[in-house]
């Protein structure tokens, strides 16, 4: 029973960090905020090339056949560095394609040639007999319209791909790392993952939790660093317990989220019976850690953290966006108490 990363996994983390720094740094969110996509095709393919998108896919689908324990490490790094890019819908979309035995699509996604967006329901969106009707948000809608849609945790266990073809209305997103549009579905087919749904939903739950745990960690590290470097009243601000204890609490929350994500991922790879419960727990703990650490990090940075130039607000906005997936807190908690 080991929950610390192996040497190979430390290597994976380092490689992920290198390629994210090169091709999807937080800084690029600012630079490309007025571009139609947050990550250029060139950079997206470079990110795909090192295998970030196909890590958990079998080799037959252009992947490397790694477990979810490796995938969560990648998503944790994405959150930690607030890297932009449609990692989540692409990875989930590839797994849906695989479950539908569309290896070609899975390989195209894994190679970074085909992007996938994410549909998030508004109140009133209904999934009936495999067809979507009603209003929804579309995040990072790709040209061809392919998007992932997932039901709320505990709410039917369906995940699939839907093609957004009708007209959408672009609006400003809270999180500048994504592009947002409103869409209205009218009896649109959802290509579901079928029997694979439950497993893919668990995977998605863990990937979201991992990215949020990464956000919590990134904020904790940024605050500790700032507390050491920033001087006021002639001393680093970290000497003040108001700052020191805020940093300690952030570290605790980050550790709780990371530990539970690792535990749940290992439990998932091992096929344990309580994997779903552990994945839900990971998401709940990670959402809380990410939200609170992002807010605390901004406060620790003071006015500096309130500027657009600083990265602190990216963490706040990332946490806000991710918390809404999988039915949001209401559905996530209900799933946990009823399981």
């Amino acid at each position: 029973m080991y929950l610390l990363p192996t040497n190979e996994q430390l290597e994976l983390i380092a490689v992920t960090n290198d390629v994210l720094t090169a091709h999807a740094p937080a800084e690029s969110i600012r630079q490309r905020r007025d571009e139609p996509v947050a990550v250029s095709d060139h950079d997206w393919r470079a990110l795909a090339e090192v295998g970030l998108l196909g890590l958990g896919l079998p080799e037959s689908a252009g992947g490397v056949g790694a477990g979810i324990t490796d995938e969560v490490l990648v998503f944790s790094e994405i959150g930690r560095t607030v890297a932009p890019g449609p990692f989540l819908p692409c990875v989930v979309g590839a797994h849906v394609a695989l479950a539908a035995e569309d290896h070609e699509l899975a390989a195209a996604i894994a190679a970074g040639e085909q992007r996938v967006g994410m549909v998030v329901g508004m109140p009133g969106l209904a999934l009936t007999q495999g067809r979507l009707t009603g209003p929804a948000w579309v995040v990072d809608l790709p040209e061809h319209g392919l998007c992932v849609f997932a039901t709320a945790l505990g709410g039917g266990d369906a995940v699939g791909l839907v093609r957004v073809q009708d007209s959408t209305v672009a609006v400003a997103a809270v999180d500048p790392a994504v592009r947002l549009a409103r869409a209205e579905f009218t009896d649109t087919e959802l290509q579901r993952a079928g029997k694979g749904s439950a497993v893919i939903l668990t995977r998605m739950t863990l990937l979201v939790a991992a990215e949020l745990a990464g956000v919590a960690r990134g904020c904790s590290e940024a605050s500790a660093k700032h507390a050491k470097e920033r001087e006021q009243f002639g001393r680093p601000i970290g000497v003040n317990q108001a700052i020191k204890h805020a940093c300690a609490d952030m570290a605790v929350r980050a550790e709780a989220a990371a530990a539970q994500v690792s535990f749940a991922a290992a439990s998932c790879d091992a096929g344990h019976a309580d994997t779903v419960l552990n994945a839900s727990a990971a998401l709940v703990v990670a959402v809380d850690a990410a939200q609170r650490n992002a807010a605390a990090n901004l406060q620790v940075h003071g006015g500096m953290g309130f500027t657009y130039e600083h990265d602190a607000h990216f963490y706040v906005k990332r946490a806000e966006r991710l918390r809404l997936l999988l039915g949001g807190r209401t559905a996530q908690l209900a799933a946990l108490v009823n399981s």
């Binding site: 998030v120 329901g121 508004m122 109140p123 948000w137 995040v139 609006v171 400003a172 997103a173 809270v174 999180d175 947002l180 920033r230 006021q232 009243f233 002639g234 003040n240 108001a242 700052i243 807010a295 901004l298 406060q299 003071g302 006015g303 953290g305 309130f306 500027t307 657009y308 130039e309 602190a312 607000h313 706040v316 806000e320 966006r321 809404l324 949001g328 807190r329 209401t330």
Partner: protein, 384 residues
Amino acid sequence: MDLDFTPEQDQFREEVRIWLAEHKPTEQRPHSGTEMRDYDLAWQRTQHEAGWAGINWPVEYGGRGLSLQEQLIWFEEYGRAGLPSMDSCFVGLHHAGPTLMSRATEAQKSTHLASILRGEEIWCQGFSEPGAGSDLASLRTKALIEGDELVVNGQKIWTSHAHLADYQELLVRTNSDGPSKHHGITWVICDMRSPGIEVRPIETIDGAHHFCEVFYDDVRIPLANVVGEVDQGWQVAMSTLSFERGTAFTAGQVRLATTVDELIELARKFGLLGDDELQRRLATARAEVAALRAMTYVGVSRNERSATPGPEGSIVKLYFSELEKSVARLAMDLLGTHSLELTSQTRSDGWTGRFLEAFSMTIGGGTSEIQRNIIGDRVLGLPR
């Protein structure tokens, strides 16, 4: 402990209410640039002409000479009428104005006070510096005395509306060899059109550009613009900061109460009032804005008994700031996935923009941590 206003005060409130209903601007307030400046100043002029500017300012400075209670009533009705805060006039009316009244020479007062009330001058505040932050007194913007002028070099930050302002209440270091860093600071009136001033807006988390950096390159300011004594500006600055803890935030507090009512309506519309948790959070927020009002009333009662506002103002500031943030958080939770969209706070349903902006509440005007220090040290008398 009589809560009742006098019949005269009730009458005053009624007049305010009627006048605001009849005269409030109908067009949307522009949210930036000279359009906003023009709007705010025009609205201030209108208020002044009808006798509503400087309600508790002495008559000799162009005010009405009434008590803090009438001023409170005005702000309550102003907030209740859903009127926009006039950000750009805030420093003039609530910081610089009261400071000049208490500390300035007659010449300085006559130059500025009536103009501020008449909507002819916009003021900004030049206190914060990049290296200083909460440690305000460690400021390093330097001023050398040359003849009858100060020559200023350095940089300020977090100056709201510096690009729109006519004057600035500026803190500079005139002496670095004093017994403490609090000595050697001078409070001076800086004309923002002086040569050598460069203003660069700062973009903030919510995409707004209200805050600025201000750079000073050999900026010459007449010594006659010094308020109080040279090197003794810290005391002047401290009184400035405490003035803003009077009734200045009353309108904002009333707006917050309105916001909570709006959120209850929003929850009703979304069918969320049946959610026990959200319903209780809304109810708690309603109780807390009530308590905030009560604390403000207590503060006004207290201030009427003493000349300068005491450190208790930090209690209200801390409670208000934290409450603004928790109400903003509650709004996001009510919105569900609608919180994905960035809706500017200039829109009436601009909840996500307001959520982002609310992060400044526990930072600006002294962080919550600094407020807790003040409460601990100066209200409770804890050891330092």
